[in-house]
Amino acid sequence: MSKNIKIYTTPTCPYCYMLKSFLKEKNVVFEEIDVSSNPQKAKELVQKTGQMAVPVIDIEGKIIVGFNKELISKELGI
């Protein structure tokens, strides 16, 4: 069963790009939210994480700030 995964990104952020290529390589399906074009979502993200930073990955409610490959892999079970 595939998990409900959302990622929050900005278009110019290199670590967002790395996160996306990593997920694609592992065939993980995700929804991408570009916070630069969506101020409301940016606000929500700050409230959710308490931080103003991207990328953020939300794996079924478990939030990881930054491209932390090890934590993300662990959470995804890959």
Partner: protein, 302 residues
Amino acid sequence: MSDIYELIIIGAGPAGITASIYAARKKMNFIVITKDVGGQTVLSSGIENYTGYQFITGVELANKFREHIESFNILLKENETVTFVKKDADIIIVETDKGKYYAKSVVVASGRVPRKLNVKGEEEFKNRGITYCATCDAPFFAGKDVAVIGGGNSALDAVLQLIKIANKVYLIDIAPKLKADPIMVEKAKNSNIVEIYNNTKVEEIYGDKFVEGIKISRDNKIKELSIEGIFIEIGSIAASDFINDVLKNKDKEIIVNCKCETNIPGIFAAGDVTNVPSKQIIVACGEGAKAVLSAFEYLSKI
């Protein structure tokens, strides 16, 4: 005691990756310990001086680097931070946040990290208004008042990005004159939302949950600015704090000779963490190759 490797490579930026490729081809018994693959390369938006590529983005080049090392069977310990390196008798001990490793030789290729201001509030408000990556986090500050600290090209780069989205941009530089390229300085000066403070020092960053303001001083006069975002762009510094016994210059760069040897036999260093003057991707790659060839030669003699 666990395995003693012939070589441990610390870091997987251009220097560490090239070192790994050479070590793999020499069939050395080695591991690579690194926080990430690509190092500072990923932060470069466009590279036009890496031979063979007329243009490539930093992320793309980092991916090419990754593909290249993954074509070998290399033991890559990613997401692992080296905390301490010491030579004890003939063995070099490498401690990390996850364990302890032993080797006969080490190549330090840990690169550089963003320089910090070292003021009150800097640690506390990291990612809570303070960022070291303008290209990543600028969109969070749309419509807000922000400050950029620094006077070089990266600081001005941040200012020019923020002009498009912020309400007000304060540029705070400790030097009397901005040292960024004049074309960038001119663009910043022409914007009516940019206010430049030269000869100005940051004293403190304050706030509650997030940044609310900054205390600055000029001619011993303290001033407070209400801002929500702070972009610290004051350059980088050699990531060499985990190793004390090697000789370093005043900028914490590890001093090496033309064979990438440090003052300690068996410990080599390569790339931006060293005192080699040109901090360039292609130079770091070359230095990484040299360091491993020197380590190989060293191992054949002990």
